[in-house]
Amino acid sequence: MTAVVLHRTFRLLEESLCAWNIAGKVVRDDTGGIVVTAKDERLLVTQAPDGVPFRWVVTVGARTRTAMSVTGVLGIVRQAIDPTYQPLRARIAPAPMVPP
C-alpha cells in the first residue's frame, strides 16, 4: 500500500468525523498507523502485513478486526464510534460496471 492510500484514508476519516457530527480527532502515530479517538474509543487503523488475505487491520480496544478495503475500514470505524449508525441489513449487489 502506498503513502498516498494512507494519506487519503487519513483525510477520509477526518472528514467522516465531521460528516457524522462526532467530536474526536484523527492523527498519525509513529508507526504510520492512523489513530481515531472519539466517544471514549481509541481505534488504530494500520495496513495489513504482506501475505494475508486482507489489506487493513483495525484495532478497537482489545479487539482486532480486518477489512478488505478502505470502505470496510470506514464501516468498522463508524460502528465503533457512531451510536446512530445502522448498517444496512440488505446487501446491495453491485451492478455490472462494464457494458453487456
Binding site: M1, E15, S16, T71, V98, P99
Partner: protein
C-alpha cells in the same frame, strides 16, 4: 424501453392543470397516464380529457406509501395489456403523484422492481411549483422540498397571478440549481420542453451543472447540491465500492445521484448512473460520448451530507484501487 416520467408537486401547485393541457396536445398522444390521488374518492381523472390514443388510469391512496406496490402492479398490468393489444399502444407513461407524495420511493420502485426492469426506463421528474404560494409551501412542507430537490424540470405555475416571482425562483434555485425553470401560465407548456430529454441532453445538463454550480451548496432545509468531476477515468471496481459506500453511509439522505462516468474498462462508452437513497439503477451505457467532454461528472442532491466527505471517500477508494491494480502494486 418505454420512458416513464413522473409529474409531482405539492397540493394545489397545478399538476392536473398542466396534465389536462398536455393531454390535448397531439404531440402528447399515445401516452398512458396514471393519476394518483390521496383519498377514497378520486377527482383528478375527471378533470382531464385524453385522446383515444391515450389512456388514463386512476389510483387512490398515496403512491409513496401503501399504494407503492400497487403502482408496480398497475404498470405491470398496463404493459401486459399493451402487449395483448387490449389498450392503445402507448409510447410513454406519465405518473402524476399525489401532492403529498414523497417522490423518492416512487423513483425507487421504478428503478428497482424486477417486474418492470428492461421494459420501463425512468425518463425524468417534472415538479410544479406554485408562484403564489410556493415560498410558504416550501417553508412548511418537507414533502415539497423533496419534490423540488429531485426534479429534472421545474414548472413555475400560476405566474399570471404572481406580481413578483423572484423570491420563489431564488428559493427553488437554492434547492435545485441544476433543473431548468419553465414558467407556465394556465398549465400551457410545450411537451418537448418537459419530456424530450435524451441522454445527450442529460449529459449536457451535467456539464451545465458543473460549469455553473460546481460548488453550489444550499443550507436551506439541509439540502445540498453539488457536482464532482473527474478528468481521469474511474475503475469499475472503484465506482462499485463508491456506490456501495454511499448506500451504506448516506441512506435516505442521498436524495438523488445522477452521473455520466468514464469507466476505465470501457472509456469509449459513457455509463449513465442514477441513484435514489439506497437504490442504484443498473448503469445505462451510451453508444458514444455526446460531446468532446469526456470527464466523469456526478451530480448529488443530498440532505446533511457534505461534499468534502464524498470527495474524500472517492479519493481514498481510487487511491486504494490504483495501488492494488496499478504499476506501484
Amino acid at each position: 424501453m418505454i420512458p416513464v416520467s413522473v409529474l409531482t408537486g405539492f397540493l394545489g401547485s397545478g399538476k392536473t392543470t398542466v396534465l389536462a393541457r398536455l393531454l390535448r396536445r397531439p404531440e402528447f398522444s399515445r401516452t398512458a397516464v396514471i393519476i394518483n390521488e390521496f383519498g377514497e374518492v378520486g377527482l383528478d381523472h375527471d378533470l382531464v380529457e385524453a385522446s383515444d390514443e391515450s389512456l388514463v388510469q386512476l389510483q387512490t391512496g398515496c403512491l409513496c406509501c401503501a399504494v407503492r406496490g400497487d403502482l408496480v402492479r398497475t404498470l405491470d398490468d398496463l404493459l401486459r395489456r399493451r402487449e395483448e393489444g387490449t389498450v392503445p399502444p402507448f409510447e410513454r407513461v406519465l405518473i402524476e403523484t399525489s401532492g403529498l407524495a414523497d417522490p423518492a420511493p416512487i423513483l425507487q420502485s421504478l428503478m428497482l422492481d424486477a417486474a418492470l426492469a428492461g421494459r420501463l426506463a425512468l425518463h425524468g421528474v417534472v415538479t410544479t411549483v406554485d408562484a403564489v404560494n410556493g415560498v410558504a409551501t416550501l417553508r412548511r412542507q418537507p414533502e415539497s422540498v423533496k419534490q423540488v430537490a429531485v426534479a429534472d424540470r421545474l414548472l413555475l405555475t400560476k405566474t399570471d397571478l404572481a406580481d413578483d416571482t423572484r423570491d420563489v425562483r431564488m428559493r427553488v434555485a437554492a434547492l435545485n440549481p441544476s433543473a431548468p425553470f419553465i414558467a407556465v401560465t394556465l398549465g400551457d407548456v410545450d411537451p418537448e420542453l418537459l419530456f424530450a430529454a435524451s441522454d445527450h441532453d442529460k449529459a449536457g445538463r451535467y456539464q451545465e451543472a458543473d460549469h455553473h454550480h460546481h460548488h453550489a451548496q444550499s443550507h436551506a432545509n439541509d439540502i445540498a447540491f453539488f457536482a464532482i468531476v473527474r478528468e481521469e477515468p474511474i475503475a469499475a471496481i472503484a465506482l462499485t465500492l463508491f456506490l456501495e459506500a454511499l448506500a451504506e453511509h448516506c441512506g435516505a439522505d442521498l436524495l438523488r445521484l445522477k452521473g455520466i462516468i468514464r469507466v476505465t474498462e470501457n472509456a469509449d462508452r459513457p455509463a449513465v448512473i442514477h441513484g435514489v437513497q439506497q437504490v442504484f439503477h443498473p448503469p445505462a451505457w451510451l453508444e458514444r460520448w455526446p460531446s468532446a467532454d469526456r470527464t466523469s461528472r456526478l451530480v448529488f442532491i443530498t440532505r446533511g451530507i457534505s461534499q468534502p466527505w464524498i470527495e474524500a471517500l472517492l479519493a481514498a477508494i481510487e487511491a486504494e484501487v490504483h495501488s492494488v491494480s496499478g504499476p506501484e502494486a
